[in-house]
């Protein structure tokens, strides 16, 4: 089951059990949620290419007690309707659920206008917003079940789908609580979304080379589980973050902030893997673009190996106090 389809099916299920649930789409593929439209036509809205209006009216519906699930392409939320997300949704703490299709490089064939490369970075700065990037369809299902009662607005970053299942039912999924998928004391890989699968593969590869890595799956970017990250970074000498988002201000940026402010008695060796500070101009597939930007298992293995063997830089005499 692909992730987007799972999330849409869940909206149908949630709407069946709770009359407050409404679905709003912009200009989605013909037949999207056909059964929802058939069974609950008055709660199904398809409002056309007008993201600013859609986010605003969703906030209005939410302030009146409805729970709107809104679906369009991720970057059309994050770029086009940014001010509506900030003011209409987040300032009002409106219980809107944005289902952001194609988070990251999913729409590679469609070019730079359709890629959501910086949504995590820009949305992370907005007070009251919760940002979740599940790693697979099972985790999406667990998340969606919690969205009915969770307070305030949520941005759900949908991966392409069909991704291998790595999530588990235990420990129970909680919004805002990172999951330690694997424990090791040589390095810590911090990942979100489908990159957690790359992190698990890298940890397996590293183990075969004698390095034991922890993998922390940070499905919730905001509110960030700073306690889990803080605990994780203290146990290891090497930390690498990996995400399908620009490295500026994304998950890696958030981790860097925590490391920098942790007042650790020994410095950490740290690297961020993600999309560099460029507009992607190459087409192909999500996988080929990830390869081009080295958001890969192999790069993760290489980075961890390199940092593990690298000696600390010494401060030049001239810069010492």
């Amino acid at each position: 089951m692909i992730v987007r389809q799972t999330s849409l099916n869940m909206v149908y299920e949630l709407a069946k059990q709770d009359e407050r649930v409404v679905f709003i789409g912009s200009e989605l593929v013909a037949g999207t949620l056909k059964k929802f439209k058939q069974d609950m036509p008055d709660r199904f809205f398809m409002e056309g290419v007008s993201e600013a209006n859609i986010v605003g009216l969703a906030a209005g519906l939410a302030l009146e007690g409805k729970i709107p699930y809104v679906n369009t392409i991720a970057t059309f939320f994050a770029r086009r309707a940014y001010e509506q997300i900030v003011l209409d949704m987040c300032l009002h703490k409106a219980k809107v659920r944005l289902m952001a299709s194609g988070g990251g490089l999913v729409y590679a064939p469609l070019g730079p206008t359709h890629l959501a490369i910086e949504d995590i970075s820009v949305l992370r700065t907005i007070p009251n917003l919760t940002i979740v990037a599940p790693c697979d369809a099972d985790e999406m299902r667990r998340l969606m079940l919690l969205t009915l009662d969770y307070p305030g607005p949520i941005y759900i970053r949908l991966a392409k789908g069909g991704d291998p299942i790595i999530s588990r039912s235990d420990p129970p999924f909680q919004i805002g609580k990172a999951i330690l998928l694997r424990e090791g004391s040589d390095a810590l890989v911090i990942a979100t979304g489908i990159c957690s699968k790359l992190a698990m593969d890298a940890a397996t590869e590293l183990a075969s080379q004698g390095l034991e890595a922890s993998v922390l799956h940070v499905h919730t970017i905001k509110p960030l589980d700073t306690a889990a990250i803080d605990q994780g970074i203290q146990r290891v000498p090497v930390i690498v973050s990996i995400e399908e988002n620009v490295t500026i201000g994304g998950l890696g940026g958030a981790v860097a902030e925590i490391i920098a402010e942790a007042s650790l008695d020994r410095p950490k060796r740290f690297a961020r893997i993600g999309i560099p500070d460029v507009f992607p101009h190459q087409y192909g597939s999500q996988a080929s673009l990830m390869e081009a930007f080295q958001i890969t298992t192999q790069n993760l293995v290489d980075k961890v190996m390199k940092l593990s063997t690298q000696s600390y830089r010494s401060t030049p005499e001239s810069l010492r106090k």
């Binding site: 409404v22 008055d42 709660r43 809205f45 409002e47 056309g48 007008s50 600013a52 209006n53 859609i54 986010v55 605003g56 009216l57 969703a58 906030a59 209005g60 519906l61 939410a62 302030l63 009146e64 007690g65 409805k66 001010e83 509506q84 003011l87 209409d88 300032l91 009002h92």
Partner: protein
């Protein structure tokens, strides 16, 4: 086309003592804060006054009463007029007015939801109130609730694309419970709307977006009462009431003068002069 060539001319519409008194309150708030969008508030006074005196159903002691009519001031910079009326109706104590824009007050330069009793949505950045109002109206339609939604927008605000996205949507859903009131004072911050971004034919635009439309003198109390008590204007359509108004209405030197769009550093002499014009 010039401002004087419009068929409805609100320039000479007389103001009664209540309208003058509300304007004096606004001047006193500006005096306390030494700033405020005074001209934008003066064009709105009669619209807001008629809404809160005659049209809206509400309970100021229970501002979240579910059956209340919802009124969003989407041109949030006109908030001085709204605050004067909300205080007058008992939504909050009058003393709050004299703390306008102060750190210990609840009344800022734009109205805030959750902070000011009676304010249904935080506005300020333009083009947000109508989409939110469409959401309110859709919710009421879903619930088959009887309350109505009023959204007051500015003419400068009507430059925003989101206004027209929301208008299309309201027309499509035949939101008879939604009324857009346009404060058409024809003066935006920089210059006349005719110069900056001409909206004409304005009424025709709203009609083609699926609204029933009426154009009235926005300072004429009887015209406002007459139109707003006979909504919707057309069956199966949302309503748009285009109120021809005068920015700064009530003080000749302020009327249509862009220097008074957002006024800071108001001198004591200017205050006294304004109050004198307003019968104070």
């Amino acid at each position: 086309m010039t401002v004087s060539s419009f068929p409805i001319s609100p320039r000479n519409t007389p103001l009664d003592e209540r309208s003058l008194s509300l304007r004096r309150t606004i001047v006193q708030m500006v005096q306390c804060a030494n700033r405020g969008h005074i001209g934008s508030a003066f064009s709105l006074v009669e619209i807001i006054r008629v809404l809160y005196d005659t049209i809206l159903r509400y309970d100021s002691r229970n501002p979240r009463w579910p059956e209340r009519d919802r009124c969003i001031l989407s041109k949030g910079h006109g908030c001085l007029a709204l605050y004067a009326l909300l205080a007058d109706k008992g939504f909050f104590p009058e003393q709050e007015l004299w703390k306008f824009c102060k750190s210990d007050g609840i009344l800022g330069g734009h109205p805030e939801y959750g902070k000011v009793p009676g304010v249904e949505a935080s506005t300020g950045s333009l083009g947000h109130g109508l989409p939110i109002g469409v959401g309110f109206a859709l919710s009421a339609q879903l619930d088959k609730a009887a309350h109505r939604i009023f959204v007051i927008i500015g003419d400068g605000e009507s430059n925003e694309g989101s206004v027209w996205e929301a208008a299309l949507c309201a027309g499509k859903h035949q939101l008879t419970n939604l009324t857009v009131i346009v404060d058409y004072n024809k003066q935006q911050s920089y210059d006349s709307t005719l110069v900056v971004q001409n909206l004409e034919p304005f009424a025709e635009k709203w009609r083609t977006f699926g609204f029933g439309v009426e154009e009235i003198d926005g300072h004429d109390l009887n015209a406002l009462r007459h139109t707003l008590s006979r909504l919707p204007i057309e069956d199966s359509k949302p309503s748009a009431v285009i109120c021809h108004t005068v920015k700064g209405k009530g003080v000749p030197e302020m009327e249509g003068n862009p220097l008074w769009h957002h006024k800071t550093k108001v001198s004591e002499e200017e205050v006294q002069n304004l109050l004198r014009h307003l019968g104070g």
